[in-house]
Amino acid sequence: MALLSRVATMLYVLGRDVERTEHLARLLRVHFELSLDRSTPSRRRFWSDFLVLAGWPVPGPVAREHAVALVLGDAAGPSLRRSLESARRAAQAVRPSLSMETWEQLNSLYWRMSDAGWQGRPDSYLRQVEMGTQLVAGLVDDTMTHDEAWHFVKLGKHHERAANVVRLVTRKAAELAEHEEDAIAWASVLRSCASLETFRMRFGAAVSAPAVSRFLLLDRRSPHSAGFCITAALAAVQGIDDPEAESPPHRVLGRLAATFQYADPAQVGASPGELATRFDGRNAELHQALRSAYFQPSQLALDPEGDQLTRHPQQQQQRSGG
């Protein structure tokens, strides 16, 4: 069953914004906890760097309270509330395509977070958001049919997560390059990606910049690595497309997946920026491909069963214009 293009778009947005909410909540919580003791090197730009990472361009140093209030408050910008609202709005728009459980959890999370205050205890507030969004993501997998609609949610989620990880790693690499090897800061990068535990299980307690970059960008088994997410996004597109056809998103993601799979780990560890640049270039292409293939398809040729009409949008426009 083909999906309405609008519904496909909104399912993608749902997956993206649930992931965005979770990532933002964890990113802020990790920074908040880091700032409570002396584990933060007393860098003046700690919170403004965080804000830039979270999408708030700020000119100079800012205080913790200010940064927290921006992300958790009501101000216009990429706040936690906005992304949660946007996820819920998308879910509302595609309500019939979602399972009851998925919708109820997302909706109830929205109301709980609107009712609860974050002042005083931002960390516990953020933990609730993380848990809530993870629960929604789990319900998507466990209660929805793994059909085209589901693949669009997964596509949005994995695309978003890959982009977040790439951005985080490259920014942190640039920020921390000027300082001497800072294991605590790099461990917090892993924590921001919910990956500290898995990293330690694999590599032990020693955290180094190249090892973290390699792990977060290239690891094939960690669900929080960029490479893993790109492969998962590719699988989603394969689930959406007709197996015979090879769509533009399929081609772009296939090339991107290959870039990550066959990258030289030593080189990526030493300078993750290069891989990130290639990711950014392909990412722009991917957005374009998604739009033209699924969200606003220009191919409006009619060929439904039992219908002999074949029309193209150009003719459609001409007729309605004339």
Binding site: D242, P297, L300, P304
Partner: protein, 486 residues
């Protein structure tokens, strides 16, 4: 200011109490419910009421009201005390409702066809043809299967002796059925003990019946018709109902931008190209349905949809132009309409209605505003009403001027003493007014979903039950037993 309606509805006696024959004396169908409510006790009932409201919010059962251009999501409050209609009463109501909707469908088919009823003078053509909802451009159109109204919501009120009257016909896009279904679900979940022993007729059949009617409308040449529900989108106040019904019926929920018309056929835009659509259950008003036909600024509609409908390329439910039968001046003619098409006496009485274009009636209305309810003929949702007994002198003066300037826009009715029933409030049990909106489906047969939406005015003494005006609702039971007793 003279008051005809007592300010506090607690002054029982003037109104028909559905549950209590006298204080502390429940009517027969309510005996067990009354007993069980007392066993549960007030604080337990309040706790369960809060639980019900929380469940509603988590399920997303809300509606949006607009204040200062900002949409605010509100709960439609549900009272836990059910309304019980015994089998015998229901059979009578059901017959009357079917009779009315069958006649109104014949009326619409005639008005948009030969207009025999007007030519034979059975009803005055000036009243019918001047209705805002009458779409002259649709005359000559043959509705699929001869049906114009596929779902109707008929508003009933019960007067001081308990007699049911029809207050309004809603033949355009009546809403509320989702609350009928949701209220039943929530009551089963929150106060299951109330059901024990009562043989309550289920309401779940609605979606199945309606969908099979819609598929039937597509005609026999389409083997597996595609039915969609057209919504104005997530910001519409009834959006909950739209997705709820789409989900229950397993049909696609579409917005105007999802559809396009090509050579008088309708298609939806999918990730896999265009797919044909055969039946559109629309929850978008006539005026917004097609910018070519209605408001050119409509962003909700689909250009060319009305022409496709005219050409028989798509079924639209409810049909276009039904507003003529909803018009509150035409409403006054419905008893004659029933007599004309069916040769029967109406089984359900109307509320006496003054048509303001008639000189004598208008004079009476403007002279007795303080005793009357004045309504706009095309209005719904309780907007723009004047309730005489609780109006101010200035409001009445303004209404008098409006009526004199635009007599066709207004009708007036005596204040109806809506029946009352107890509701749970924070302070205990209190009596509130209510009405009843049963839903009538027209297809190969005409059917009525048992019960309907009981809307409750939650403000003390208020006669306005509309959700947009602070009303709530309650579950409505029709019992299989004749006398309603378990």
């Amino acid at each position: 200011m003279g008051r005809v309606v007592p300010a506090q509805a607690e002054a029982r006696g003037a109104f028909y109490d559905e549950m209590l024959a006298a204080p502390g004396q429940p009517r027969r169908p309510y005996l067990r419910i009354h007993q069980r409510l007392q066993t549960l006790g007030h604080s337990e009932l309040r706790r369960r009421q809060r639980l019900a409201q929380r469940v509603f919010r988590e399920l997303g059962i809300t509606f949006t009201v607009y204040e200062d251009d900002r949409g605010i999501e509100k709960l439609f409050p549900v009272d836990l005390i059910p309304r019980v209609i015994d089998g015998r009463t229901w059979t009578r109501l059901e017959r009357g409702l079917k009779q009315r909707v069958v006649a109104l469908n014949l009326f619409l088919e005639d008005i948009y066809g030969e207009q025999r009823i007007l030519r034979q003078g059975a009803v005055p053509s000036d009243v019918v043809l001047s209705a805002d909802g009458f779409r002259r451009e649709l005359v000559g159109l043959r509705a699929p299967r001869g049906l114009h109204c596929h779902v109707a919501g008929i508003d009933l009120v019960r007067d001081h002796v308990g007699e049911f009257h029809v207050l309004e016909d809603n033949l355009r896009t009546p809403s509320g059925i989702s609350y009928v279904l949701a209220n039943r679900q929530i009551l089963k979940r929150v106060v299951p003990e109330l059901f024990i022993g009562y043989d309550v007729r289920p309401v779940d059949g609605y979606c199945h019946e309606f969908l099979s009617n819609l598929r039937w409308l597509a005609g026999s040449r389409v083997v597996d018709p595609t039915v969609v529900l057209l919504t104005p989108g997530i910001y519409n106040s009834a959006y909950f109902e739209h997705w709820f019904l789409a989900k229950q019926m397993g049909i696609e929920l579409v917005e105007g931008s999802d559809l396009l018309v090509d050579q008088d056929r309708v298609f939806m835009r999918t990730t896999d190209g265009l797919r044909p659509v055969h039946v559109v259950y629309r929850r978008v008003d006539d005026a917004y349905l097609d910018p070519i036909f209605g408001r050119p600024d409509s962003l909700l509609g689909i250009p060319g949809l009305v022409n496709a409908y005219r050409a028989g390329g798509v079924v639209i439910a409810n049909g276009l132009g039904n507003g003529v039968a909803d018009d509150k001046a035409v409403y006054a003619l419905v008893p004659d309409i029933i007599r004309y098409y069916l040769g029967e006496e109406p089984l359900l009485p109307n509320v006496p209605t003054y048509i303001c274009t008639r000189d004598a009636e208008r004079r009476y209305v403007v002279d007795h505003l303080e005793h009357l309810v004045v309504k706009t003929v095309g209005g719904s949702g309780g907007y723009g009403m004047l309730i005489g007994p609780i109006s101010t002198r200035a409001q009445r003066a303004r209404m008098r001027r409006l009526i004199e300037a635009h007599p066709r826009r207004f009708v007036a009715q005596p204040v109806i003493d809506l029946s009352v029933q107890p509701v749970l409030t924070s302070g205990g049990i209190a009596s509130r007014h209510q009405d009843l909106r049963p839903f009538v489906l027209s297809g190969p047969e005409t059917t009525v979903t048992p019960g309907g939406l009981t809307r409750v005015a939650l403000r003390p003494g208020s006669l306005v039950v509309n959700s947009s005006q602070g009303g709530g609702s309650r579950d409505t039971w029709v019992t299989a037993s004749e006398d309603g007793a378990p």
